[in-house]
Symmetry: C2
Subunit: 495 residues, 2 copies
């Protein structure tokens, strides 16, 4: 196998995987009720074929010898070595185990749906126990140096380690607790004007304007409606986003457009010529999330951004927001208030929601916590960290789908995303004079160019850690996020 054969093989796998992505997209956006069963069969068949192609012994041997070819360019070497790394990791799980895990996940998912209906963790518990047990086994099979959780983290944030995350989160927790305590002493800002009737079509049209303005390319993508907003890529030339419209709330559609738009810009910014190769893939979920959150929060909840766009909002929704000043709007969309539900959380408490999940997942993997005690542990931590009482399971331990998908080690990437976002945006401001003034004029091109050059185009050429060093000249530091938060909320709450 020469490099060109290798590329062809990876393209074949990528074509299968992106076909699966189309099947998933269509499932979320279009599927008629009875279409779910045949769709599951299609996805299973294609996944099996992709898995076979990616893990055959023959391919492994060929990769191994290709990795020793001295005439490859740097990028070519990088592609081959990353593919080999993926291959070796994949081979640690035998087919029997993969099938068992897939079945347990499917069972956990259905139990979770059932439990959500009955609002009872008990309906979920047995399936989750089975699944957690398998995830523990999975960590052992995959191997790790210091902590079993590291083995799972590697799926989502290659190179991240418990040792470092513990330090990071400890830091964040103490600083955030102090900051939110100071905010709680102040009178809260009003945001009731966000909860008026905003007609579907007007919201939808505004969302498209927002996306276009960000630089999302509709020649290489489209937006649709789905219950839960998401971004999915079939190639850098076809990256789709979805949104959700709540006619009684201005926020969900608006910031999901900006958030998913940020994800989509990353995917549209990967290089077409690297399609199917590691260098054509995003480097980690944390970096992916940094792109969505940079746009959603650092830009999309800033005063400079809305000084460009709020006049348009007032034009479209004059009856609802004509009497609300930019300052009131800006404060309202940044209102801080502890709550029960992660996805409804403000920018600060959000990371306490994540910390709770991180600590619980870690304890489950260490066998220090059992699923039978998970609900109590969840509720106790919510009382301790956010000072809220969990009134029922749907508003507590059942609120997220992630564990039911077998995703353990995923949650921390959300917080990492915010931390990377703050650090990257700080760097962009340093390197682009007048950046926020440009954005305040409705022009995001310099920012997008900077992200394209510094982040998007590299794909997996650098790990998240390497990328941060390369872009910012230093490793990830929470201080950029905290500085951003301190400055912003000091002003909003007159601290």
């Amino acid at each position: 196998m020469n490099y060109s054969d290798y590329k062809q093989h990876l393209n074949k796998i990528a074509n299968l995987n992106t076909a699966i992505a189309v099947l998933h997209w269509d499932k979320e956006v279009n599927l008629p009720p009875l279409g779910a069963a045949p769709r599951g069969q299609q996805i299973a068949t294609l996944s099996g074929m992709a898995h076979e192609l990616a893990t055959s012994d023959e391919f492994g041997e060929q990769l191994q010898s290709l990795a020793n070819v001295s005439t490859l360019s740097e990028d070519e070497k990088k592609n081959v070595s990353l593919t080999l790394k993926d291959y070796k990791r994949g081979k640690k799980l035998d087919l029997e185990f993969v099938v068992a895990l897939s079945n347990a996940t499917s069972e956990a998912y259905h139990s979770w749906i059932k439990a959500r209906k009955s609002n009872s963790f008990e309906d979920y518990r047995p399936a989750l126990e089975k699944l957690v047990d398998l995830k523990r086994q999975e960590a052992e099979k995959l191997g790790y140096e210091k902590h079993p959780y590291d083995a799972l983290l590697e799926y989502y944030e290659p190179g991240a380690r418990v040792e470092e995350l513990d330090v990071l989160f400890k830091d964040v927790r103490s600083q955030l607790t102090t900051l939110t305590a100071r905010i709680r002493e102040k009178e809260n800002v009003a945001n009731d004007f966000l909860f008026q009737r905003f007609p579907h079509q007007q919201q939808w049209d505004f969302g498209l304007e927002i996306l276009k303005n960000m630089g999302y390319d509709f020649d290489r993508g489209r937006q649709d409606v789905s219950p839960h907003p998401f971004t999915i890529s079939f190639s850098p030339q076809d990256v789709r986003v979805t949104t959700h419209v709540d006619e009684n709330n201005f926020a969900p559609m608006t910031w999901s457009c900006i958030h998913e738009g940020g994800h989509a810009l990353y995917e549209q910014g990967l290089l077409v010529e690297n399609f199917g190769l590691p260098l054509g893939q995003s480097t980690s979920l944390g970096i992916h999330e940094s792109q969505s959150r940079l746009w959603e929060n650092n830009v999309g909840r800033s005063k400079f951004y809305w000084s460009a766009h709020y006049p348009r909002v007032q034009e479209i929704f004059s009856a609802q927001l004509g009497g609300i000043s930019l300052d009131q709007f800006y404060k309202g969309i940044n209102r801080i208030e502890p709550s029960l539900i992660r996805i409804e959380s403000d920018e600060l408490h959000y990371h306490l929601h994540i910390l709770i999940r991180y600590e619980l997942e870690k304890a489950l993997m260490e066998d220090k916590l059992q699923v039978a005690d998970l609900k109590e542990a969840w509720n106790a931590k919510y009382k301790e960290y956010l000072d809220v009482e969990v009134p029922n399971d749907n508003k507590g331990v059942l609120q997220d789908i992630h564990w039911a998908h077998g995703s353990i080690g995923y949650f921390p990437t959300y917080s990492l995303g915010s931390f990377y976002a703050a650090q990257f945006f700080n760097q962009a401001k340093k390197e682009i004079p007048g950046l926020t003034e440009e954005i305040a004029k409705g022009n995001n091109q310099s920012l997008l160019d900077w992200l394209r050059t510094n982040i998007h185009q590299h794909g997996r050429k650098y790990t998240a850690k390497e990328l941060c060093e390369k872009v910012c000249g230093e490793p990830l530091k929470v201080k950029y996020f905290m500085e951003y938060a301190e400055k912003k909320f000091r002003e909003i709450y007159d601290l």
Copy 2:
């Protein structure tokens, strides 16, 4: 390989093929402009894999020995023997030839697009010459008894032969020419009221009502908009239709809904347990078209059908059609008038359009006509058969995409569809007392049940010819179509 392995293998192929169908559907309905290239790659990869699975030597040997197992049920035997037949036919074309054909088709398609833009057959001619040459070779490779065209017909209408079609069309031509000549002597009926402004949303909603009323199951499908209406199946549990709305014409959306709805009812009526097997596939394009045309014409252009639905049309479009009586409406939607474009043709001249294509295709395959002379031959036949002058290539020889797709032998199935439709509907009326009265009350259930029982559920268990014999007790006869046409237009035109 036992029967259960065989079923599993066919399921795998079907899952790949229906995934390809999803990719095609999405291409027509959703694709962003730059998504075409990666989509082509996905489809090519999956098609290659499906082809490999269906034509491997190993599978052929296994099929051959399974065909000799005596313990199979009748249906099982039928499935295996049809799969073996498909397999053997597929093996007659070597991979090299398949690739050459696929490249020539792709080239012809792009040339056709270009020629449509320049309105010049010359831009299409060289690519079509190459393609026709390959189709001649294909017919030789596939083999035939009497006529090379038979080898290609077999793709679309298994068992159909030039020998019989020639007789059929000769009959039709003389009778249709006589009938349309009699009609031309009369003053034409008015249909100008169809060309008013009918707003998109109202048409769309009405189309959904029409589909529901036919029995199309929206739990197992959905309707979307695409440039050219089509039906596509991912399984009997997910059969989708598309329509096209022209705000200045009531007809296209309405009858495309009914037409595609007829196709979709066939696909929804195949048995889920036969998914992936020959008995779970439609028997021929002629029979498929009989289902769409029975609904579109025999039902959907009848007075009894519109006596149920026209009041609703008048309610929705009161400004446009409030003053047009059911009788006027009925006559208008059945207006006869020779025209240049097949897909805009009335129910009678339509078959002359088809006859022209059939004769030209046959002559091309016989090497009696060359592509260089195709345009002149086309124009001459339009003058002779329809008495119209072709003013330019787009309105003549360039109007259909079929040849550019490499589909030669496809056109006759459209006429066969109409002829089967008339014969089936005649039979249904004989077997269901009061059928048209029921439909006139808006109730189509008896008709749908009859079609499900007599036609849909069988899949490929019977060939088109066998099915016709089984359902009607006699072979296909054009007289049922002609009787239907005579009766209908005698009344409309007072002949």
